[in-house]
């Protein structure tokens, strides 16, 4: 007897265990239905759960429980991805970034919902009543085809966050007018007209050293005019770059034109290179952390809330923190307007912008009864009154009759800018190669942002990589 034979014995047994790794069964009784859902731990999800617990009465008469696994945002993808791909079959529903659709649909995890929509006139009405741009980004795969998967959970849009006390100061107004011969915007409506030129002027104008006069008082610390996301993490520079490229009339690799569309020549077109250069030109006006490549949506928001920045472009999803005096030093001096756009040769401002937010989806292993109760819940969730209440508590709704309601814009100070930008929203890619495309270009953009590479080389590298990757995947022919 040696230890080796012992090991071999164990290995054999482990081999048997291996042979067993095939599907497990889930059961649900007719009366008690639990919908297991994976959701990020943030207010829009907490509100959803809270409203469900307090208000939802299933029409079927079953006792339905919504069991949300609240997962902190930074680890949300890791957890959901591991759960789905390991075949754990733990969740019946999951919140998903719209760009994750392709990978999880192709893998057979997210359920196509066309049959559910067709079978239920109420659900169909709700889906038809949604803003088409949002529906297209959040629900269709392949993108822009009538194959539906998701329902909006929180439609997020970039807006301008501005400081009233700085922008409306008479002294600053006068000096700005004298220097640039432009009116320094002071109201939300004036900010709605903002373009990148004015944005750049603001960035240059409000660069103040500690002790310089700022809005009639000496600044207690260095102060900066502008900030927006240019960070290496997740999509924190892609979002900005795409908006600049789209607004300049360029384009990223367009998944709806596959397989005839190309990345080479499009991603690195002269227009795109100019657009990237345009974006990079603003970094010098931003707080210095931008130069380290870690200026993400949270950092720019924090700088704004701490009163170090006059104007920040960020998601409305982060807005509540700015409004709350407990987390914000500027809570009583906020102006919200549209995100800046690029003024074209015809004088019109193009505000095409990367959409944010998340849909939620159903998974493929749900039993009929789970699907039935899930549809019941979703219909209730997408109904006008419920969406209106959700919006009043801090959510956003993509349902036309909700955001067109005159009351809607009064619910939150950013809602006016939010609703008026819906038509400008675009989404990047939903193909399974999303993370490949994203991480590579994030790395490349980071090199440009931290000043290690020029715009042309950056986009050439991105185009070359995408062309190769997508050709191998059969998406470019």
């Amino acid at each position: 007897m040696t230890a080796r034979t012992k090991l071999q014995g164990l290995a054999t047994a482990a081999g048997f265990a291996l042979a067993l790794f095939v599907g497990g069964a889930t059961t649900a009784s007719a009366e008690d239905v639990t919908l297991h859902m994976a959701g990020p731990d943030w207010p829009p999800m907490r509100i959803m759960k809270d409203m469900f617990d307090k208000e939802y009465k299933p029409a079927s008469g079953n006792k339905v429980t919504l069991d949300i696994d609240f997962i902190p945002w930074p680890d949300f993808y890791t957890r959901v991805n591991a759960s789905l791909t390991s075949g754990e079959k733990k969740y019946n529903m999951a919140v998903s970034d719209s760009q994750w659709l392709g990978a999880f649909v192709e893998g057979g995890y997210f359920r196509k919902i066309n049959d559910l929509i067709d079978a239920d006139p109420d659900l169909k009405k709700a889906m038809d009543g949604m803003h088409p741009k949002v529906l297209n980004a959040y629900s269709t795969y392949p993108n822009s085809t009538p194959n539906f998967y998701g329902f909006p959970q929180f439609p997020d849009i970039l807006v301008s966050y501005a400081r009233k006390d700085i922008f409306c100061n008479d002294e600053e107004q006068k000096n700005f007018k004298a220097k640039y011969n432009k009116k320094l915007p002071c109201t939300g409506e004036e900010f709605d007209d903002i373009d990148w030129d004015l944005f750049g002027n603001i960035g240059e104008f409000f660069q103040r050293k500690k002790g310089d006069m700022l809005a009639g008082k000496p600044a207690d610390d260095d102060f900066y005019g502008i900030a927006f996301q240019v960070g290496k993490g997740y999509d924190f520079s892609t979002t900005s770059v795409h908006s600049f490229v789209w607004q300049a009339g360029g384009d990223i690799w367009d998944e709806t034109k596959a397989p005839s569309g190309h990345a080479e020549g499009q991603v690195n077109s002269d227009v795109a290179v100019k657009a990237l250069d345009h974006m990079l030109s603003f970094i010098k006006y931003m707080p210095p952390v931008a130069k380290t490549g870690t200026m993400d949506i949270f950092k720019s928001d924090e700088l704004f809330r701490e009163g170090k920045v006059a104007l920040n472009v960020d998601w409305v999803g982060l807005g509540e923190a700015s409004l709350d005096p407990k987390t914000s030093k500027v809570s009583d001096k906020l102006i919200f307007g549209k995100a800046p756009g690029t003024k074209g040769a015809d004088g019109k401002v193009n505000r095409s912008s990367q959409i944010g937010g998340q849909p939620f989806v159903l998974t493929t292993w749900n039993t009929d009864i789970i699907n039935k109760e899930a549809v019941g819940f979703i219909k209730w969730w997408l109904s006008k009154d419920v969406q209106m209440e959700y919006a009043s508590k801090g959510g956003q709704s993509a349902i036309t009759e909700v955001y067109n309601d005159p009351k809607y814009v009064t619910l939150r100070p950013w809602n006016r800018a939010w609703a008026s930008q819906l038509d400008d929203q675009k989404d990047m890619w939903h193909v399974p190669q999303f993370f490949d495309l994203l991480t590579q270009q994030q790395d490349q953009y980071d090199l440009a942002i931290t000043g290690k590479q020029d715009a042309k080389t950056t986009l050439d590298n991105v185009a070359k990589y995408q062309e190769k990757l997508l050709t191998e995947a059969g998406l470019i022919k």
């Binding site: 230890a3 731990d41 943030w42 207010p43 907490r46 696994d69 930074p74 928001d301 924090e302 982060l318």
Partner: protein, 314 residues
């Protein structure tokens, strides 16, 4: 060494044997170095008493009191315990009512999972280490190396098979599963560490005991273990610290009921539609530090007592 009891020993400070003495000069020197070393932790603890609006102030507010006007107001913050109550109960939506955050549960889970798995690893690992040290197998070094190898790969590589295994056995989300996993996670270090202690022991005493007719068991418990107490203490501390803060397995293999603090902690990093909640994160970290801090502190006695042959010769 002089046998006169110093005032410190009367006050209950144990004098370690086997190490030389140094005076207050050494205390001063070590004190300065230690405080500098501790500074980043101290700043975290201070932050835990600050409101979010004061946490990032520049110049840094590091004093909870102005010491009767000695410290300029710019450096003084108004201390609050709000972060500590927020750890366990706070509004999770803006304007919502305060609700249980689940952290009481997460703390219990962390303490339970870490202590059980580390003790288990210590028992199993010490036995194995003794085996490897005193009864070498054929290919002893190979076994030891293979054991070490299991620590060499990033956890992300083995996570998918582990999840599958847990799913089939129903261990996913259970205490048993994560405890077994952490036990395995701690074993390599425990075995190597304890083996190196056993290897350093002089064999004469053991052999003499064996000749006197002591059983292998008795030799192990009466002669070998007392000599490696410092090693056991150190190994326990290391195991506890590593397990206490383990993140990836905990993220993927615990359910909402068995979740541990390191996973839930990210709630304060970018949860709630806001970036870092500095005070809250600091409060969680400070609370989370306390149990392992005190366990380490009380095990220090064993760690620092040292081994002299006096204890063995009897």
């Amino acid at each position: 060494m002089g046998e006169a009891t110093s005032i410190w020993e009367k006050l209950g400070f144990r004098k370690a044997s086997g190490v030389s003495e140094a005076g207050w000069g050494q205390t001063l020197f070590a004190g300065i170095i230690s405080l500098i070393y501790f500074l980043p932790v101290l700043l975290i603890i201070i932050t835990s008493f600050k409101l979010q609006t004061e946490a990032l102030s520049i110049p840094p507010k590091f004093m909870p009191t102005n010491l009767f006007g000695l410290i300029p107001d710019a450096y003084v913050f108004s201390p609050t315990l709000e972060n500590y109550t927020s750890v366990f109960s706070r509004a999770m939506t803006s304007g919502g009512a305060a609700e249980n955050t689940g952290f009481d549960r997460y703390f219990f889970n962390s303490i339970m999972i870490a202590s059980v798995s580390v003790l288990l690893a210590l028992v199993i690992g010490t036995l194995a280490a003794f085996g490897f040290s005193r009864y070498p197998l054929k290919g002893n070094d190979t076994y030891l190396f293979v054991i070490l190898t299991t620590r060499m790969l990033p956890a992300i590589v083995v996570i998918i098979p582990v999840i599958l295994m847990f799913r089939v056995t129903g261990l996913s989300g259970s205490y048993l599963g994560i405890i077994m996993l952490y036990t395995a996670f701690n074993l390599p270090f425990t075995i190597w560490m304890m083996k190196s202690f056993f290897d350093e022991l002089s064999l004469d005493v053991e052999d003499a005991a064996r000749l006197d007719g002591s059983s292998g068991l008795k030799v192990f418990f009466k002669i070998c273990l007392p000599q490696v107490l410092a090693g056991l203490a150190a190994t326990f501390v290391f195991g506890l610290i590593l397990t206490w803060n383990e993140f990836l397995f905990a993220l993927l293999l615990t359910g909402i009921d068995t979740r541990t603090v390191p996973v839930a902690m990210s709630q304060a990093v970018a949860g709630g539609g806001i970036g870092v909640l500095w005070g809250l994160l600091a409060a969680i970290e400070t609370l989370f530090l306390i149990p392992v801090f005190f366990v380490t502190f009380f095990l220090q006695d064993h760690l620092l007592r040292g081994v002299t042959f006096g204890t063995v010769k009897r």
